[in-house]
């Protein structure tokens, strides 16, 4: 990439500390992010995939500085997000927005849609007084909701419509980058497709960049240019989406792909009994985090952490054997 990326995440670390147990509380550390790096270009859609506890949601929260980091850096359009002053942060937040999985819980149940969508406009001084209403109406048009929605409350809408409201709110400040955390996983397939088409259109029309967090490989394959695969707080593989899913390099990516069911009875998923539970981020295995579940693991995998290295143009993998 010749020009500087819009978002650059370098060696990002985040550790959560909990004191649990009785009568003597034990200190437990959860390394949610253990040196995560990636970049997102202007107008690019980056997918982040992985299973529960891999740190994919934490990446979004720390990158947006909703939570402090414990190391590493996040650079947005040349400026360091975690070093920014309050004023700089406010200007930056306007350009980085977020969409959540469950819009019902991120909308205030007692706030009408006009207020929910008008508030950011007022706060950032984009529109005030009589100008708010037409601005909000334009947003509703853009996400395909009727203008009559303005004076209604969140509970009057279906899940898909509520997600449209969440998207309209993220768009209200004309951001350059949107973090979307599992935006379609709570929706039925037919509605999910509607929302994906909407995001696709917005991306084209507005030149938006996305960090699209999902556990659904099909959705990521459809929507994302590049993908980052995470496992227990680390990036294990990244590259152009079609290439990564057609030819996964990391054994974990392969396992994810083989476990994702396809609507085709001739291509059934690999169902194998793996004994025991997958390791938790509380006490991750030594060496390569994936080695206890890996069929190819060698002695080196048990002791030495594999570095994320470039394998071919645009493709990186963190595996001793790839």
């Amino acid at each position: 990439m010749s020009e500087a990326p819009l978002l650059l995440v370098q060696d990002l670390k985040k550790t959560f500390v909990a004191h649990r147990g009785w009568p003597i509380p034990k200190r437990t550390e959860v390394r949610a992010l253990d040196g995560v790096s990636f970049e997102v270009g202007r107008g690019e859609v980056l997918g982040v995939v992985g299973e529960s506890g891999c740190g994919k949601s934490t990446v979004a929260r720390v990158a947006l500085r909703l939570q402090p980091s414990d190391g590493g850096s996040v650079t947005f359009d040349g400026a360091d997000v975690h070093m920014a002053s309050r004023r700089e942060m406010r200007a930056m937040r306007r350009r980085m927005q977020m969409i959540f999985q469950d819009p019902a819980s991120s909308l205030d149940g007692r706030q009408r849609i006009i207020d929910a969508l008008g508030e950011p406009l007022r706060v950032h001084g984009i529109a005030r007084g009589a100008a708010v209403r037409p601005a909000v109406e334009r947003l509703l048009d853009e996400v395909g909701l009727p203008r009559t929605a303005l004076d209604r409350y969140p509970h009057e809408f279906s899940g898909g419509q509520r997600q449209r409201i969440g998207i309209a709110r993220a768009l209200s400040l004309s951001p350059d980058l949107i973090f979307a955390d599992e935006p379609v996983s709570a929706l039925d397939v037919s509605v999910q497709a509607q929302i994906l088409m909407l995001l696709e259109r917005l991306r084209r029309d507005r030149g938006l960049a996305f960090v699209f967090i999902s556990h659904d490989l099909g959705v990521v394959r459809h929507f994302c240019d590049r993908v980052v695969v995470m496992y227990l707080g680390r990036v294990v593989e990244s590259g152009p989406t079609a290439q990564v899913f057609a030819e996964p390099l990391h054994p974990y990516t392969r396992l994810l792909k083989e476990s994702s069911p396809e609507p085709d009875p001739t291509r059934t998923i690999t169902m194998n009994f793996q004994e025991g539970e997958p390791p938790s981020p509380v006490s991750p295995p030594t060496g390569c985090h994936f080695h206890p579940r890996c069929r190819l693991a060698t002695e080196r995998c048990r002791t030495e952490r594999p570095a994320l290295r470039d394998l071919s143009p645009g493709r990186t993998v963190s595996c001793h054997l790839a």
Binding site: G159, D188, V189, S190, F223, S259, P265, I269, M271, P278
Partner: protein, 326 residues
């Protein structure tokens, strides 16, 4: 097919729920039967009636707001609809086992796992506490919970999501039921864990000769584990077919649209969303309930089409005026 080959037979099931001052049909004229070792998948989106069908079969409909209006549900020669509550209770957990989407909400958080798994055996088989504990350990081993003996005294919150679902399966299978009803059993799980749990169910099904009624919205899961598929929309069965025939020739416009709306890992094909949304219960169209969203709609659709064979295959039926064999 004689009754002896059938583990569960549902005939003309009609289930209603109370909205406002009226009863509305949420399941209309649903019929199917499942043989031992067979998996029947009920597929559809929220509100299509698939879970209400499962709850009707289990006799777990919430009283006062839901009721079975008509139909027969036959297990072991006993019609559960006509039977009294005592009979139904004896069948539930004994002949019929059920697992749910979120095991955490169906397990009791303050009782140890071993007791919960063994409870059905004390209730239905008259086992003593000690015998039940022994059997519970065997069951946990059967569902491959590691270190089963030590975990008998553990509580649900000490288990991961996948392990909790295994415990639920052990609980459902405690009395060796003939029929297992699985309502979105893997929806809350990660894909690799989903694959483990589906493999476990398939394995136990083979060993125990279970008939499985699988409720799911995921057509990928259907393709992987089901023998036959029933697609529901707005409470109606719109298509029913062996799994191979269904994916080779999805015939009802809704089945077709559902497949076209699903993003796939193995291809870049474009998505085609289904326009609009499912009509609310009180505003269901008179005839074909999919008509309001259907591109093939004709005047005939104002009247409900019957389930008729398609593609000359008597096993493959669909409820559509336009697509039926003429």
């Amino acid at each position: 097919m004689t009754d002896a080959d059938i583990a569960l037979r549902v005939e003309g099931l009609n289930t209603q729920i109370h909205v406002g001052s009226d009863w509305h049909d949420v399941v209309r004229d649903v019929s199917f039967s499942i043989r031992p070792r067979e998996t029947l998948a009920l597929v559809g989106e929220s509100g299509c009636g698939k879970s209400m069908t499962a709850l009707s079969v289990m006799g777990l409909l919430p009283p006062k707001v839901a009721r079975i209006g008509a139909g027969r549900i036959v297990v072991d020669g006993i019609d559960l609809v006509a039977a009294d509550e005592a009979t139904r209770e004896n069948m539930r957990g004994d002949r019929l086992g059920m697992i749910f989407q979120e095991p955490m909400t169906s397990l009791n958080p303050v009782l140890p796992i071993g007791f919960q798994v063994g409870e059905a055996l004390m209730r239905h088989r008259g086992l003593s506490r000690r015998q039940a504990r022994q059997k519970a350990r065997e069951l946990l081993e059967l569902v491959r919970v590691p270190a089963a003996a030590e975990r008998l005294d553990a509580y649900p919150h000490q288990f991961s999501g996948g392990m909790r679902q295994r415990v639920m399966i052990a609980l459902a299978l405690a009395c060796s039921p003939k029929v297992l009803i699985a309502d979105e059993p893997t929806t809350a799980l990660d894909v690799t864990i989903q694959a483990q749990v589906l493999a476990l169910i398939a394995d136990l099904q083979e060993k125990e000769g279970l008939a499985v009624l699988l409720i799911t919205h995921n057509l990928g899961v259907v393709a992987s584990v089901a023998d036959r598929v029933i697609v529901m929309y707005g409470g109606d069965v719109v298509e029913s077919a062996p799994v191979g025939a269904f994916f080779a020739r999805p015939t009802h416009p809704y089945s077709e649209a559902l497949l076209a709306a699903m993003p796939r890992v193995d291809s870049d094909g474009g998505l085609e969303p289904i326009p609009g949304q499912v009509p609310t219960l009180t505003a269901m169209p008179k005839g074909c309930r999919f008509a309001t969203r259907c591109a093939l709609r004709t005047d005939a659709c104002a009247e409900l089409p019957p389930l008729a064979p398609v593609g000359g295959d008597p096993e493959h039926v669909a409820r559509c005026w336009v697509r039926r064999d003429s």
